[in-house]
């Protein structure tokens, strides 16, 4: 599961420059009438379009925007935007518990939180940016997202309170359960 490439940046290079784009477009449309899978349907995406839609963040940090935040700033964001569902300290709910739970995965009542279960810190950016807060997804700016991530990592004992979380530091955060996952070994249960 390691070895994340820089696929998007490479592929973006292909499309850079109007000339290259135009040539590629002409080539694609031209190919359409010559078989080879081309049906003359669909059109080339522009760099600008790709940039606007390309919101995912990979474990390498690819996709992380400029901006930064600390736990101190994040406490305010969390109180204002997140605590209503996740509780004042991220432990109370009523929705997903985000803090604590370390050491519970082998017990009868495992508590799967960011600190006890999530293998990659970058997932926090990908998810919060696209899906949170629940009642206004996509409304937090990068500084707010980095801040609230810093606060959540601090609450889970993963980073220090003054740690600055940004595009460079977030992919370097070592999550406690980073090695807690194994590839699907099924079929693993012998039937009759």
């Amino acid at each position: 599961m390691d070895g994340y490439g820089t696929s998007t940046r490479k592929s973006l290079l292909i499309g850079v420059g109007t000339v290259a784009l135009t040539l590629a477009y002409v080539w694609a449309v031209g190919a359409a009438d010559e078989g080879g899978g081309g049906y003359g349907l669909g059109r080339m995406a522009t760099d600008e379009e790709i940039r606007a839609w390309n919101i995912d963040v990979s474990p390498t940090g690819e996709g992380l925007p400029p901006g930064q935040g600390t736990a101190k700033q994040g406490a305010q964001v969390f109180a204002a935007k997140c605590a209503m569902c996740h509780g004042p300290t991220g432990k109370e709910g009523p929705k997903d518990r985000l803090v604590g739970g370390q050491g519970t995965l082998t017990t009868g009542k495992p508590i799967k939180t960011i600190g006890s279960y999530w293998p990659y810190a970058t997932t926090l950016y990908d998810f919060i940016n696209r899906a949170m807060p629940f009642n206004a997804p996509g409304s937090l700016n990068p500084d707010e997202i980095y801040s609230v991530i810093a606060w959540l990592l601090f609450q889970n004992g993963i980073v220090k309170e003054d740690a600055v979380i940004d595009a460079r530091t977030l992919p370097q955060v070592q999550m406690p359960n980073r090695n807690g996952f194994i590839p699907d070994p099924r079929p693993d249960v012998p039937g009759k």
């Binding site: 994340y4 899978g37 839609w53 995912d56 999530w118």
Partner: protein, 423 residues
Amino acid sequence: MGEGLLNMSRRRFLVHSASMMALGAATLALPKAHAEEPKAPEDPMRVPGALPRPYGERSPFIKSSRVGGAGPGAPHGWGANAPNNFNSWTPLQDLHGIVTPSALHFERHHNGVPLIDPSRHRLLIHGLVKRPMIFTVDDLERLPASSRLAFLECSGNSHDLWLHVNPDFTVQDTHGLTSTSEWTGVKLSTLLEAVGVQRGASWMLAEGSDAAGMDRSVPLTHEVLEEAMICYGQNGEALRPEQGFPLRLLIPGYEGNINIKWLRRLKFGTAPFMTREETSKYTDLMPDGKAYQFSLVMEAKSVITSPSGQQQIQPGFQEIRGLAWSGRGRVTKAEVSVDGGRTWQLARLQEPVLPKCHTRFLWPWRWNGQETILQSRCTDETGYVQPTRQELVKVRGNNSVFHYNAIQSWRVDRDGRIWNIYA
């Protein structure tokens, strides 16, 4: 049994009515027809019937409905919980054959069903491709079309049964997060030819345009490249909004969540993107604290849908009916036990028997009025046999949440009432 079923639906109907009244005008989900019993003429041969209508409705006498729920541990129903319901379960006990009516297809969404104008919807394909491209829904509908029947099952189907057995549960409650449709769309391979996927691309991120921006990484296995589709059709018409209108990904045999609905983007890369759903959610925690990841195939499973939980049977002839399915291919065998698994009878498989599709099985039974336990188990074309609960739990423990596919047991009591049990 007919009477028992009628009582069941009447009870559900009363529950619905009560919750409608409680919520007042805020609840618009149920049609007004539910509020009153239809009045049929004494003799339908003496009164001219109704005229054609633009979009058909079922008989007002048929009340079969999905049941809603919020997720693990939360009660099922449409009452006060309704605002938290992001699941709905298919009433398998009421269905015939193998196709699930689109209006009764189970639902799982993560921040509601988006309302999407198809004329403004686009699919972007980019990443490790030679030609990043944008397709309109119209573009996709014009490309060579493909249709197939396939089941979709939420990997959380039957999740309650990992931890406890609720005796009052119906088969809708225990197994209702699976449905079968005929899906129509463009093969993924057709689009990959158009964009020219580059060497080294081994994973594909699929992303939806709902408020959750649902995203999952798909391994580009031979099977996925052969079978995955971008669908716009379901059971002969456009996808239902709950099923991803106007576009959804379909990977036959794979867990429901990865069949991204409201699909807006496919991005090719060399490694999984490690999204929230494939790390913190749809992973299977084992007793040693490790979790299976990318456990995508839905393994073979079967269940008796009739008679099933909370139904009432009478002594005498009782055809046992059920569904079997496997994400690895065709069901080759379904067996029924009417003595709690001591002996097994070969059930008849109703044609068509299709790969990665619900298969209907039937076995004629005569209930002698004695208490007993009904079970079914299936075998698929790989030779995989559906395990007992003991066999499953022995390997995976009780905290897996996902991919529960053990043999289901229904207890028939002396009064002919059916109960959900472990056996």
